[in-house]
Amino acid sequence: MSDSNREAVLGSLRRALGRDAPVDEDTAAKLRARMTGHARNIVPARTALDDAGLVELFETMAQKVHATVAHVASMDDVPGAVGEYLRGENLPSEIVMAPDATLDAAPWSDNSLLEIRRGAPVESDQVSVTSAPAAVAETGTLAMYSGPDHPATLNFIPETHVVVLPAGRVVKSYEDVWDSIRAQASDPESGRGGQLPRTVNFVTGPSRSGDIEQTLLLGAHGPRRLHIVIVDGE
């Protein structure tokens, strides 16, 4: 069935477009060049800022959509800041944490109050901790890529998601993220084999719904709380 449907849809398209065959070779070459040229369309000027300005914009935009933000000086301070946040919110100290290299660099074992498991979450997990490989200043958006070191369900299953973000990873726009995932895909060391990560998540604030009388409610299915720890010195 599938193949005849395919021919029927493509055939009907071509007739409608006034051709009875695929586009000619010249046109195809132009279209391929457009697809691989990575030319940017308009990128909003609000991100024409220096590095510090970008971090500030990211923070403002993220807070506008109900994320909370804390700053620490270095990775050494991250476990303490995570513990402090969880205590302050009366949240459990058991966390499920992404097995990623960024987080490996923090001295978790010094903070004996936290109970840490590394890997993908299960239904009962209440708090997840991940890092983010990039963050978009334009709209306060975190970018996260799935992989063995970052199961995508960590971004959705637990009620609280704590994200560790080295300040140097704040970029201007989604287009900057595209460039970096393309570079990563084609880097032989990444093991991506030319492919995008299976899942690329742009996360802008915690989960929300307006489905009951347009009342804004946080925590519809994904996290109720999104807490971002910015590591200023990284």
């Binding site: 599938s2 449907n5 395919r6 029927a8 849809v9 493509l10 009907s12 398209l13 071509r14 477009l17 695929p22 586009v23 046109t27 195809a28 279209l31 457009r34 697809m35 990575h38 369309n41 308009i42 909003p44 000027a45 609000r46 935009m61 890997g119 993908a120 709209t139 306060g140 958006t141 799935s146 992989g147 063995p148 199961p151 995508a152 369900t153 959705f156 299953i157 595209w178 492919q195 299976r198 690329v200 998540n201 742009f202 996360v203 802008t204 989960s207 929300r208 719904s209 307006g210 489905d211 009951i212 009388e213 347009q214 009342t215 409610l217 925590g219 519809a220 299915h221 994904g222 996290p223």
Partner: protein, 474 residues
Amino acid sequence: MSGSTTRNFKSNAARELANDTLRAALTKSKGHFTEGRSTAAENLPEFEALRDQSRDIKNHTIEHLDFYLEAYEEKVRESGGHVHWARTAEDARQIVLEICRSVDAKAVNKGKSMISEECEINEMLEANGIRAVETDLGEYIIQLRGEKPSHIIAPAVHLTKGQVEESFRANHTHLDPDRVLEEPPTLLDEARTILRKKYFEAEVGMTGANLLIAETGSSVIVTNEGNGDLSQLIPKVHIVLASVEKIVPTLEDAATILRVLARSATGQEFSSYTTLSTGPKREGDTDGPEQYHVILLDNGRTDMIGTEFQEMLRCIRCGACMNHCPVYQSVGGHAYGWVYPGPMGSVLSPGLLGVDEAGHLPNASTFCGRCEEVCPVRIPLPKMMRNWREQEFEKHLSPGAARAGLGLWAFMAKRPKLYQLVTGVQMRLLARLGRAQGRVSSLPLARGWTKYRELPAPEGRTFQSRWKSGERPL
């Protein structure tokens, strides 16, 4: 197509106008979306230019849609996914069923998808003994009530919290009947707890797609709740059901459209979750689906290409046109009788269902022009509604009627009917709007009406002149 009551717009609308609960729900939602959109637009100086670019990207893609679809297909295959082509809704249902059967699925978790509504996937699944679980809060609520969505991005916008409470009490019978359940947060918590369990039970997760990216073979969903992500990450099979015009060439093109989508829809700068999925889980991944299927649905869309309705295929389903439509805001989405309500539905439904079935819908307009003013991809909706009306009109002048000897009589007989349908609805609307909300002045009658006015006036006076002379029917 089953399930459509578009022929009955007039009686549907009359019924809905008399529904005070609907009135209450629509009044509450009204300002929310329109104010959100205008604030978001003001906060982005490039917004108008981005709308132009979004329009141009979609036009370019549609002009070369066969090329981009094949390029997209190749990329999906390279990343380990499967592509299925569906000419009709029936094809789509068959493909979904085959995939479900291949993994012996008992339950399918669904992210919100209008295409799924269009293809009546839930009905098909249930008929085959497979549970369809809508996970978007709004969709979940209307599924419990056995209703259809009344809005393309806010499916339960026609309901009050009291009605939601009623449905939860009637369906969640395992919970304490004396529990407090009045306010939206407690309603949300209850739905969250119940759906949470279900995420881990289904074998198949199904989503729509806001965009398909030819360059990378990725599908994109844009949501606020995170239910679409849970639906597509936890089950072992992920099915994406998307219509062919969802393609854009590159990631950069996707970024441009994403910049206008949320702003136009809800007034957010960006939705909470924008997710790109490319193929199934990779080696070493500890979560994600083992199988990734994309169903590319035509169902009448390619027939619109090359016609005066081609531009409708630019639609990115933001819902702005219905949020700003005085007719939609008064009669609600159900009056339109099929999946797609409001101005976009009045243009798209006759294209997909045929002018015989849905040719009435383009009359459900005051031609005020707001829909076109706010459409992020600048679809000339009023012009296209007029085109449909002309087609419907000509159809009634068809050789068949002439051969039957009806000739001019048929012509005259049809016209007042058409006229009556239009004016009947409009006058009731205006009267109600004037009474209930005192905002007749917000209908740009003078400019919009005269710009598009083309109604036959068999009773000798135009609607406008009667309005001006102070007549207030109903």
